[in-house]
Amino acid sequence: MIKRKKNFTLIELMLGIAMISIVYLAMTALSVFLINHVLAYSETSAMHMLVNYALEDMKVRCISAVQLDDRSYFSSVGESKKAFTFFGEKEIYTITPDDDRDNVWYSYELDDKKNLVLKERDPTTGVEKQEILIGARYHPDVEFTYDPDTEPHYLKVRITVGGQRTGVKGEKTKITKFEGLRFWYLSVVR
């Protein structure tokens, strides 16, 4: 029987284990880096979509409002509010300004849990609904502003959201977007 045996020495084993550990750690760090950035990108994309959806919802719903809540009127010298309540069409693409039977009360505000919500209350049936436009995990902030050098049936709305994950530069993403809200049938200034 011919035997040719070549074994690893202790030093070779130790070196091999050290190199494998280094490669494994590098692979793990790279994977974590990639995953974190992919999640940060997807979070940023999600924030943009949510803010765009909320702004578009406000723009489409406010235009046919026929009445404001008393607390939602603005001063003629300029004012900002964190909530906005109005009486508008239940079917936003079927506008009947002379028929209030198909209208509901809408309210854009931050609820107790800091979600940006759209509340809907039907005065006929008393049914109340709530839709979360932007969840509290994104720390949404909303502000409705009337500037005195603009028309009395025009408002600006600002929505700011902040991400939880850090980007490439180590900063958390913050997004601020605006939309102009026109009102066909009423003035927001009292």
Binding site: R4, K5, Y41, H48, D147, E151, F178, E179, G180, R182
Partner: protein, 319 residues
Amino acid sequence: MRSRTKSVGRRLSIRRRIKTFPMNVQARKSISLLEVLIFAAIFSLFLITLVKILLGARFYQREAENRSIAVGVASTKMEEELAQSYSGLVPGTKSGKGIAVGGALYNDFVDWQVNVTQKYEGELPQRIPIPYKQIEVTSSYEDEDSRGRKLGRTLRLLNFIPYPYIHMSGIRYPSRTGETVQPSNTIVPFGGTEPFTWPDLPPLLRIENIKFETPQNILVFYNLSLEIDNFTGLADDDLISSAVFVTDEFGNAVHYNPQANTPIMTQPIINNVVAISGLQPNRTYTVDVRWKKDKDAGSIHLREGNLILFAVETLPPSP
């Protein structure tokens, strides 16, 4: 002499044993340096590609974010312009940065420009052009590509406000602060003896500089509230007459019927509606209400009054 056959047989048997008993021979196969180098090279290429994709995704996402914010700025400015009336939109250009809200400036890396242009539709010889105002909002910003090169991005929104189909204007007495003060004389004048004529009576309530860019039919509403200062000489059947006059830019005043004849003593309020058709486009008119009494007695003055003009567009039929 040994037999050759025996040694050959012994060698053969060894070879056979080698073949039949391979476990007795340990042949080791290991990874050569060349294979390790090739693997390292391929793995490096993979890593480089991955990092490039990651960096590229970062630039594309930032580009999408900037574009989204620029669209928001342009949309906000467009809504601000659309909220104005047709007459409030002054043709011209204005520009700025970002969105100013309550004294603070946001998204100031986006420059915007608003351009309002007066335009006309349907300018055929046999048709009257319909005016409209075109609103163009341009927002521009600076971006970077994946190689760090500066790029200028621009996006444009277009909308328009058509000439209003209905116009309304009005004036009242007493006038409020900032309104035109009129009339100069609120005492009802004597119109002369029968047959009743309309001498050059001063206007009581007047709306001036009425000018439309399209042909219009108008309805003129007026309400007058009287107060009698002196009843001396006035009888129950004495009348106050009121009528609407339209004066064109050449000074020609046209009296329109129906005129209202109201008993002085029994009706302290005069209401009338007059329909006038065929106001020509781009001509300046004045509409006023005049009144007179048919008896040179007593003294009556205007207590309150208003004059309202309601104009609706009328176009000739298309050829």
